[in-house]
């Protein structure tokens, strides 16, 4: 199996799908430059440069999907979905219901997300909780190149709208473009297993199926994206203290693999959520509800983003769900 970067894995899945399915078109700002190889292979008729008009090109993607195309829409960052949220919230996500189930809206939104490179609170948000709250949307958040490829491939065969989160900290291409800019004078805390890995062409990952990345009986840690790698590092260190963590990579937030979470929490009686998204009204609270609805009353903690992501690198590192914060919360749950 060839190795590649996280971002390249998504590119590959899109290229493979475009070669197979002539109805897939790619839309986004600067895509002729950012995705030049796709222009060279598929031409400007299928790789469309968009003006800086998120509301229009997201809305047009919804319409194009209604008309028979399968648009892939690239946002520069998920933060900018705010500009065009109506298309996602009120149109893509509603078509299935409003048409009585006969008309689907197959749009894939590729949304770079997250902080860790000091770009400030308007360019480092995660927002998957907000989006996963919307019925009719599918939301996937890979943490490895293999899952990035597999979930993208699955999404491109799915008949409804999908938001694919691409953590910029895992994506070497974005990190170079937005963070490093050919400098040697900056460093980033990149989890190596998330940034580069084996990818099997053609392999898909099913929606709504979590992956247990580490087994343990004392504490369940649920996470996505960069949070998975932070949780695994924390679990290594906690094992040295005699605490065995089970680390669940949710991979897909809507649909959510409730069963894997519930079965784990039933055994450990402790649930910790490590989430780079905002703490309130999001994934962390949702998982608590999942446990309660299953009749479980685990000890519970959440390590999330508490406030607007700060710009200064040291403040940002402290605000993100880092290994130290996860360990501290785990120790409180297991004391």
């Amino acid at each position: 199996m060839p190795e590649c970067t996280f971002g390249r894995a998504i590119d590959l899945a899109i290229e493979h799908a475009m070669a197979r399915d002539a109805t897939i078109v790619l839309i986004g700002e600067d895509v002729p430059m950012l995705r030049a190889p796709l222009v060279a292979r598929f031409g400007t008729g299928r790789v469309l440069a968009a003006p800086i008009s998120e509301a229009a090109f997201l809305g047009a993607a919804a319409g194009a999907a209604m008309g028979g195309l399968r648009p892939v829409v690239e946002l520069y960052m998920v933060d900018f979905i705010g500009v065009g949220l109506d298309a996602v919230l009120n149109h893509m996500a509603k078509l299935d219901t409003f048409s009585g189930g006969g008309w689907r809206c197959p749009v894939l939104i590729r949304a770079p997300s997250g902080g860790g490179y000091g770009d400030g609170g308007q360019h480092g948000q995660s927002l998957w909780g907000m989006l996963a709250a919307i019925p009719g949307l599918t939301v996937v958040v890979p943490s490895t190149p293999a899952d990035a490829y597999g979930l993208t491939a699955t999404a491109l065969g799915h008949d409804g709208p999908v938001v694919l989160f691409e953590s910029k900290l895992l994506s070497a291409e974005w990190l170079e473009f937005l963070g490093r800019g050919a400098r040697d004078s900056v460093t980033f805390d990149v989890p190596p297993a998330g940034a580069r890995g084996a990818v099997e062409p053609g392999a898909t990952v099913p929606l709504g199926q979590a992956a247990v990345r580490r087994q343990g009986g004392d504490l369940t840690i649920a996470a996505v994206a960069v949070g998975v790698h932070r949780a695994l590092e924390a679990a290594d260190r906690l094992a040295a203290k005699g605490i065995e963590c089970e680390v669940i990579d949710l991979r897909s937030l809507r649909p959510l693999d409730r069963r894997t979470v519930v079965e784990s929490v039933r055994r450990t009686s402790r649930l910790l959520v490590a989430d780079e998204d905002y703490v309130a009204y999001g994934l962390a609270g949702e998982l608590a509800a999942v446990a309660l609805e299953a009749g479980l009353t685990p000890r519970y903690a959440r390590v999330c983003l508490e406030d607007t992501l700060p710009y200064a690198r040291h403040l940002e590192a402290a605000a993100l769900p880092n290994v130290e914060r996860i360990i501290a919360a785990a120790l409180r749950l297991t004391d």
Partner: protein
């Protein structure tokens, strides 16, 4: 040439040159969009502002803030992520705000227009004869919120001046490739009073802004100033397109390899593929041409030439600005290992 206009342009440029150095040293994180090339527009417009006027800015916000008189040390401290920066180190360079100057900025393209409209509304209710100025770019005028503001400001007859800095780019795409019509014509169609100037010519900008702002203070309808100027440092520092354009054989090698590989694989319509590759090549040529700093393209050089008749004043201004920026840098780097000399 009015000496103060030259001074303000020089301050804006010297500030950005200092920022670029801090960025290269790794002391500034994330994207850093310089306003080099926009100094004549900033100086020509912002020197007309008074206390109580609002200022709405985009991600290339430094030149107007420098000219507006926002303390340089506090701006630099923000970029360095320090607790005594403008935003206490929590905001960053795209998000500089100074309540004292009624000045705000945004990293969301297009957002300065509605922000400016709101500042203008507040001025019209609370501060007679005060106005708001929104700086934006040609690429941003394709945002819905920008186009909606072109209507809203007329509907409410707001004292708003929109300064559209036309550098022909929408991030890494040529504006013309993704735009219909021309920015000034769009505004005129909504009923704005419009003017167009060479944004490298500070006197022309200053005169045009004086006329438009003067009318706004008397209650005339919103005004739109289109100013063309170069983008000297690409979209942001480290812009890969600019690097590729300047050194295609080293910085462009990987991408060119990928493009060549993709071009040989089975794919779409041949004409569309060739057309796309040609367009990319043209982009690189244009990126390089737009970033030529020497000669007639640089507004600062033009202003300096215009000062040649008064070399003593020019030299004094240059010394004073040099000292001002140097001491601001020194103060900003007081707790940075190595300070200004690292």
């Amino acid at each position: 040439m009015h000496p103060d206009l030259y001074r303000q342009m020089l301050r804006a440029r010297a500030y950005e040159v200092a920022v670029a150095d801090l960025w290269r040293r790794g002391l500034i994180s994330g994207e850093m969009h310089l306003g080099t090339g926009e100094e004549a527009v900033a100086a020509g417009v912002v020197t007309h502002l008074r206390d109580g006027d609002g200022l709405a800015l985009a991600h290339r916000c430094s030149p107007p803030l420098v000219v507006r008189g926002v303390p340089l040390v506090r701006m630099l401290r923000e970029l360095l992520g320090k607790p005594d920066g403008l935003g206490h180190g929590r905001a960053g360079h795209m998000h500089l705000f100074s309540r004292e100057h009624l000045a705000g900025s945004s990293g969301v393209v297009g957002a300065s227009l509605p922000m400016g409209a709101g500042l203008a509304l507040a001025a019209s209710r609370l501060r007679p004869r005060r106005i708001a100025v929104a700086f934006t770019g040609d690429g941003a005028l394709n945002q819905g919120m920008a186009l909606e503001t072109l209507n809203l400001a007329v509907a409410w007859n707001l004292p708003l001046l929109v300064v559209c800095i036309d550098n022909r780019w929408a991030i890494a795409t040529r504006s013309a490739d993704v735009s219909g019509g021309e920015p000034g014509e769009r505004a005129a169609a909504f009923g704005w009073q419009t003017a167009r100037v060479d944004g490298r010519d500070v006197l022309a900008v200053h005169a045009a802004a004086q006329t438009l702002i003067g009318r706004l203070r008397k209650g005339r309808k919103p005004a739109f100033l289109l100013a063309t100027c170069p983008r000297l440092d690409g979209h942001f520092l480290g812009d890969p397109m600019l690097r590729m354009a300047r050194q295609p054989l080293t910085d462009g090698r990987e991408l060119l390899g990928e493009v060549a590989g993709a071009a040989t694989r089975k794919g779409g319509d041949l004409l569309r593929r060739v057309g796309g590759v040609l367009r990319m090549t043209r982009l690189l040529v244009q990126a390089r041409a737009g970033a030529e700093r020497d000669g007639r393209g640089d507004p600062l050089q033009q202003a300096r030439d215009a000062m040649a008749r008064d070399p003593e004043v020019r030299d004094r201004i240059e010394h004073e600005v040099h000292d001002e920026i140097a001491s601001a840098l020194e103060a900003a780097l007081i707790d940075t290992p190595g300070g200004v000399d690292a």
